[in-house]
């Protein structure tokens, strides 16, 4: 295919077709299965023959029968999530392939499936409670949700806090519940972000089927070159995702290092590093373009690197621009590193991503700024809470490193770091940059410390 960046917005029609199916499922979740008309489930009659595996076909037939007989069981709701996720895996693969083709990069999508779903015995009870709650939501419909519907679920949430194996499910659940609560009371059905909530609903349902995916990691040692980061958060959980390159023996791997923490609402972006004192050597290395020596890190096939924070040794200064451009330059399609990939279980268009480095770009507009690369203009995706990535800074930056990402209708460019200078010693600015002095313990106001002191006093004296 002779596609170039100019064709980026011409989304493949197969992707759009799949999206139409998903929209029908979302409409069902919006009104609720308790209020569904026979025509609302026509989508499953259509899909029964279209889904790829025989076992899923059987499940969809069973789902349609259950609807017709008005006997929806737990398995029927699992099937709704399974079908929706299957469609989104296909969407991810179409779009990821399209993006890499446009960029002239090799498309690497592993052909694993998520057929081997299994839950661990000890967590079954609580996962079942989560599933029951998700089913209640699906019956009521997003438009029928009230704050009262959340109350019976609170004891389950309280139990989850003491089950580390379910941290991930718990984090997603809190984000979803808080958001539902924020929308209460729902005056206008058009205000409900039905696609987003259907995504969160089905991801959570999938997590009740398989709370964790096991991957085989290998032990690696070498030099880590950190290039940028992103921060994902809701009021009760935050993840810092550092992107970099790991040179281990002769191989260069694109890697992702993640550190996540539960938090409370009063801890905002300006306090982010107070939650992660262990990240100080990494953030220092990133902000000064210095490598780190990694010993016996664990590297997953997808590029997730787990390291020991207590054994980090700093390495040498490196040429950040050269390092980024050798692997992620938009102009030259050679990626010298193994790219990041995602297991099938997690695939969804929101994760379609290719890392990009460019020093030939323009930033246009105010409000939602756009990055113009060649003749193509792409809106910038910048969380509103990072003052260091304001339009003025972006407009005066000499280089930018980030990723193309996709949402419902269009492509976005999300910056992970940018440079004020094009000199070899260019040091990056990144989300959270303005608050790195809090690592020094100099901040006058430390809500993490104040609340942790409260916690240690009150939780122990109880």
């Amino acid at each position: 295919m002779d596609a170039t960046l100019e064709h980026l917005s011409e989304i493949p029609t197969q992707f759009q077709e799949l999206h139409t199916y998903i929209e029908s499922i979302d409409s069902l979740l919006l009104v609720g299965t308790g209020h569904a008309k026979p025509s609302d489930i026509d989508i499953f009659r259509t899909l029964a023959e279209a889904v790829p595996s025989k076992s899923l076909q059987n499940r969809v037939h069973a789902l349609v029968r259950a609807f017709d007989e008005n006997l929806l069981n737990d398995e029927a709701y699992e099937t709704i999530a399974l079908v929706r996720s299957t469609l989104q895996i296909a969407q991810y693969e179409i779009l990821q392939h399209y993006l890499t083709t446009i960029l002239g990069r090799a498309s690497i999508i592993s052909d694993d499936t998520f057929s081997s779903l299994q839950t661990q015995g000890s967590e079954n009870g609580i996962l079942n409670a989560v599933k029951k709650w998700l089913i209640e939501i699906a019956i009521a419909g997003f438009d029928g949700l009230s704050a009262d519907a959340m109350t019976p679920f609170i004891p389950t949430l309280e139990k989850l806090v003491s089950i580390p194996e379910l941290n991930e499910t718990h984090a997603i659940l809190l984000g979803f519940i808080n958001e539902i609560m924020d929308y209460q009371p729902i005056h206008n059905i058009d205000m409900i972000p039905q696609h987003r909530w259907a995504d969160l609903w089905s991801r959570l349902m999938m997590r009740t089927l398989s709370p964790k995916i096991q991957v085989d990691c290998k032990s690696v040692s070498g030099d880590l070159f950190l290039l940028g980061l992103e921060i994902q958060q809701h009021t009760q959980f935050v993840s810092v995702i550092l992107y970099g390159l790991l040179k281990a023996e002769e191989d260069l791997h694109s890697v992702r290092i993640v550190r996540s923490s539960f938090k409370v609402d009063v801890i905002d972006t300006s306090h982010i590093w107070l939650l992660f004192p262990e990240l100080k050597p990494l953030i220092t290395a990133l902000s000064s373009a210095q490598s780190l020596k990694i010993e016996n890190g664990q590297l997953s096939p997808g590029g997730d690197l787990t390291i020991s924070y207590s054994h980090l040794k700093s390495g040498k200064s490196f040429n950040l621009i050269e390092m980024m451009s050798s692997c992620y330059s938009i102009e030259s399609p050679t990626n010298n590193s193994t790219p990041l990939t995602l297991p099938a279980f997690y695939r969804h268009p929101i994760h379609v991503s290719e890392m990009i480095f460019t020093d030939t770009f323009q930033i246009k507009g105010t409000g939602t700024s756009h990055i113009k690369i060649g003749e193509v203009s792409i809106p910038l995706l910048i969380p509103g809470t990072f003052p260091e990535l304001d339009t003025k800074t972006l407009k005066t930056s000499k280089w930018i490193f980030g990723a193309f990402r996709y949402d419902n209708t269009c492509w976005w460019f999300q910056p992970f770091s940018l440079g004020k200078s094009d000199q070899i010693a260019s040091e990056p600015i990144f989300p959270g940059y303005n608050f790195i002095d809090t690592f020094e313990g100099k901040s006058r106001y430390n809500p993490v410390k104040i609340l942790k002191e409260r916690a240690s006093r009150l939780l122990r004296s109880k």
Binding site: T151, E158, V161, P164, N167, E168, A171, I172, G175, E179, D182, P193, H195, R196, D199, L200, R207, Q232, Q233, H234, T235, F237, S239, I241, R256, V258, R259, S260, S261, F262, K263, V264, D265, V266, D268, T269, F276, D304, T306, Y346, H348, I350, L381, P383, G384, T385, R405, D407, W412, P447, V448, I450, L451, K452, R454, A455, R457, L459, S461, K462
Partner: protein, 156 residues
């Protein structure tokens, strides 16, 4: 609406909220409720609430001792709680939640809200506020984790 650009709204509202005096405030179960530090003892806190609709209120220590500041009106703990709630959620949201007899858009401050409250003291269960607070604090005791959670991509 883009699903990638959700969620920044709340952050800006809690900009200036400080936890020194009021470590916990929430809009929950039909009440604005929370915890206020005691000036004299680190082990003691005041638990207080204002109910939606009726605006009835109460304030007591975590040992169930009625607050001495309740003299027929909203004590200083309740006033501080209200101020921090406005910083955290915004005046409009608090006004809406308490069902003030006015257009929530016109409410700009904790002082505005206080002037419109019309409840009276009501001795009602308050221990739940304390357990909610302990539940809230428990999140800070969970150890940080290394796993990549792809679904966090929905949250900014």
């Amino acid at each position: 609406m883009s699903f990638l650009t959700q969620g920044s709204d709340r952050e800006t509202k809690i900009d200036k909220r400080k936890v020194n005096n009021v470590p916990f405030v929430e809009l929950h179960d039909g009440r604005l409720q929370g915890v206020v530090s005691s000036g004299s003892s680190k082990e003691r806190v005041y638990l207080a609430f204002i109910k939606a609709n009726s605006h009835d209120y109460y304030c007591s220590t975590n040992n169930n001792r009625r607050c001495g500041g309740l003299r027929g009106t909203y004590c200083k703990h309740l006033r501080w709680l209200l101020e921090e709630a406005v910083k955290q959620f915004g005046a409009k949201k608090v006004a809406e939640y308490l069902k003030l007899p006015t257009n929530p858009e016109s409410v700009k401050s904790a002082r505005n809200i206080l002037a419109l409250l019309h409840g009276s003291e009501v001795k009602e269960s308050i221990s739940e506020v304390f357990s909610r607070f302990l539940g809230y604090l428990r999140y800070l005791e969970v150890e940080s984790v290394n796993e990549y959670i792809p679904e966090m991509a929905w949250f900014f």
